[in-house]
Amino acid sequence: MKNVLVKSKESSINRPMILLALIALTLAAGALVGKKAFADDYPNGCVSCHVEGTGALDMRINAVLSRLGHGKAADRSKVIPAACDRCHASSGDGPASALRNLIHRAHYTDPDANLFVTQYAGSCLHCHAMDGASGKASVKSGERNWTPIVGGEPITE
């Protein structure tokens, strides 16, 4: 009788552990299956990832560029990244270096530490779209997600 009681107590202690183990395995399976998913979590490219966030560092493009000492040009850009082409022409003929190589470097340099690689799997299709019917790859775009400030005043459009 004593042995039965002891066994029963041990079993009730381990039940939460077994449940936790099952949850952990379910998460693992979900993560592995998720890697094959084809749904587009970032349909607007840059602005789908570069958001203000909650409590974290402001990752919007204007904030990131400001921290890098980039000029106020971001406030003149409405559609991202298409508007960046005004200076960063993809032909390389603009006043600033071609955006494509710049952005690739920003997202792939130092892959062991680069957030895009470590947290977003370095997937090209977060920024690019593939039209399977035509076979044409394109760059996704979306409207800026910040309020431009000119002369110290927010601009409402």
């Binding site: 041990e10 936790l20 395995l25 470097r105 892959p111 799997a121 076979g135």
Partner: protein
């Protein structure tokens, strides 16, 4: 009790690895020929076998894939039937049924390499495997 703790620990480690491990190792450093190969007991997926099935001319001059394909297939920007578009179509059309998207995750970096120093996206290549 100890066994259950071990099982739990193993499950937690597996979950952490699956959710946090960055995908960095390149399993397909030579592009096309790393996927398109013949494995024992499986369908022959080498490019010459697949192309023969769709009536493509033989490939005696092809030594490096896909570089040598440029001998016939144009890759100029703006070209309507350019090789890049054709290969993209083959690998991305009908994504719910396409083996490249359903089994290989539709990952551009299986075929392309990113030179992080220059920011140039490249096409991987390798010697023919037939």
């Amino acid at each position: 009790m100890k066994d259950r703790v071990r099982v739990f620990s193993l499950a937690v480690i597996t979950a952490l690895l699956a959710t946090t491990a960055p995908v960095q190792a390149d399993e397909y450093p030579q592009g096309c020929v790393d996927c398109h190969k013949q494995e024992p007991g499986k369908t022959n997926l080498t490019l010459n076998a697949l192309l023969a099935q769709i009536g493509h001319p033989k490939l005696p001059k092809v030594k490096k894939v896909p570089t040598s394909c440029g001998g016939c297939h144009a890759s100029d920007e703006g070209e309507e039937n350019q090789f890049a578009h054709m290969i993209h179509q083959i690998h991305f059309d009908v994504p719910k049924a396409n083996l490249f998207t359903t089994r290989f995750g539709g990952d551009c970096l299986h075929c392309h390499a990113m030179d992080a120093d220059s920011g140039e996206a490249l096409v991987k290549s390798g010697p023919r495997n037939w």
